[in-house]
Each structure stands twice: as structure tokens, then as C-alpha cells.
């Protein structure tokens, strides 16, 4: 009888330990959504490396059919509104690269066939930089860019 009670207590302690481990984030729940996230592209510290990781090529044809809307001068680098619009057909994805950021690739939007060639978001910029929009349309890569001057950087602190 006594030994059974010991056993029960032992079981209780180990169950408690697992609970603590989960709570401390040692056993992370399996990620479902973020599985396809291209880590190497987002970790790349140059535009060329990010493009190679993301698209397997650094070649993009300049296109007049892509509009990058961003302020000429951003007073606050922590919040820089950027909008990319394109009239190209069969747009597969729109990526935004902030060349002078520590990790240039900021965001990439995969668009379904019924999505319009339009995305808008807000980015952080460490310092003045060229903001490049890369549009993948019909299997090819097109680009357009805009220079944004930043008065107060958004990556320090």
C-alpha cells in the first residue's frame, strides 16, 4: 500500500515538471502557419543575398508599370507607409526590400490569381534608403524603386 502511494506521488511530480517545461516555452507548440516562412531570405544582410534566397536570382527588369508610393522624407523611420501598385498581369507576389536596413527583405506578399496587384503596409527604416518593390508576374521578376530620406531612424533605441 505504502509503495503505491509513493508511485502515485512520483507520477504527480513528473507531470508537474512537464507542465513547467511547457510554461517556460521549452516545449513549443508545433507551428502550423509559419512553416513556409523563408528564414534565410529574411536573415540575408544584402539585397542580392535576399533576392537569391527568395527568387534564386538577382535579376529583375525595371518596369514602369510598378508604382512605389512612399514619402520623400520620412520624419519617423519607425513608421514609413509604403504602397506598391502594379498594372502587370498574372502577379504572383510583391516583395518589398529596404536596401539599407540590417536585413533588407521587409515583406513579401503572395497573391492568389484573383488578387489585384496592390499591397500597402508600414515599415521600419533604420536610415535613408532605396525602397525596392519586386513584382513576380508570369514567372518573371520586375522591379521599381523609390528613395526615402529618414530623419529619425526607426531601428535604434
Amino acid at each position: 500500500m505504502k509503495s503505491k502511494r509513493r508511485l502515485f506521488l512520483k507520477g504527480a511530480t513528473s507531470a508537474g515538471l512537464i507542465g513547467v517545461a511547457v510554461g517556460a516555452g521549452l516545449l513549443k507548440p508545433v507551428r502550423v502557419l509559419a512553416a513556409a516562412w523563408p528564414k534565410t531570405a529574411f536573415d540575408a544582410d544584402t539585397t542580392a543575398a535576399a533576392m537569391t534566397e527568395m527568387f534564386g536570382s538577382t535579376e529583375a527588369a525595371e518596369s514602369g508599370d510598378i508604382k512605389v508610393k512612399a514619402p520623400d522624407i520620412a520624419e519617423n523611420g519607425a513608421v514609413v507607409p509604403v504602397t506598391v501598385e502594379t498594372g502587370l498581369s498574372s502577379v504572383e507576389s510583391i516583395s518589398i526590400i529596404t536596401e539599407n536596413n540590417p536585413a533588407p527583405l521587409s515583406a513579401s506578399f503572395n497573391l492568389a490569381s484573383n488578387a489585384e496587384g496592390y499591397v500597402s503596409t508600414r515599415l521600419k527604416m533604420g536610415k535613408s534608403s532605396k525602397v525596392v518593390a519586386l513584382v513576380k508576374a508570369d514567372g518573371k521578376l520586375y522591379s521599381a524603386s523609390k528613395e526615402v530620406k529618414v530623419t529619425i531612424g526607426g531601428c535604434g533605441g
Partner: protein, 102 residues
């Protein structure tokens, strides 16, 4: 309460979706007052579904601004259709919100 605010408006055949998410979007490059680095904590993926079909997947790095804003457009939606937006961050947390197109 959900961390996502979504608004979707149909203008003819084109639906404009605007979403605001509440998230620190910590880059991992900042330091706190005592000089210790603040760990990176940011949304990596945002998925938007229209009537169960994925219309847009956003992959984000840490340089998207705090409390991110996102807007995009798609065709083939109509008033009253269901829209679902969900995000997942680098710590494995996620959230989602449903809306109807107005």
C-alpha cells in the same frame, strides 16, 4: 478580444481589405535600459481567406512596423461574404479574426 481589426469593402467586383494588428514587432536589435538585448518577437505570416480560399499570404520580417497595417485588394468578392485573417509570429503564437465584406 482579438488582436486584429479588419475592414473589407466591396466596390463593384473589387474588395479592398484593410487590417490592423496589435503586435510589438520587436526586431531583436534593440536593447533595454540595462543594455540587455530585447529578443525578436514579430509576426512572420499573415493569411487572408475569402470564403475559405486563400487570397493573400504575407510573409514578414521584423522590419514591418509595430502594430502592423496591411491593405490589399482582390476581385470576385461580394457584400456579405466571409473573410478570415490570421497571423502567426516567431514565438508560435497566433490569432485570427473573421469579418464580413461590407
Amino acid at each position: 478580444m482579438s488582436s486584429i481589426k479588419v475592414r473589407a469593402k466591396a466596390d463593384g467586383d473589387v474588395v479592398t481589405v484593410k487590417a490592423l494588428m496589435k503586435h510589438p514587432m520587436e526586431t531583436g536589435q534593440r536593447k533595454d535600459k540595462s543594455g540587455n538585448p530585447i529578443p525578436a518577437h514579430y509576426i512572420q505570416e499573415v493569411v487572408c481567406e475569402h470564403n475559405g480560399n486563400v487570397v493573400m499570404t504575407a510573409l514578414w520580417g521584423p522590419s514591418v512596423s509595430k502594430n502592423p497595417y496591411l491593405s490589399f485588394k482582390f476581385t470576385g468578392g461580394a457584400k456579405g461574404d466571409a473573410l478570415k485573417i490570421s497571423w502567426a509570429d516567431n514565438e508560435g503564437k497566433s490569432d485570427s479574426e473573421e469579418a464580413t465584406i461590407g
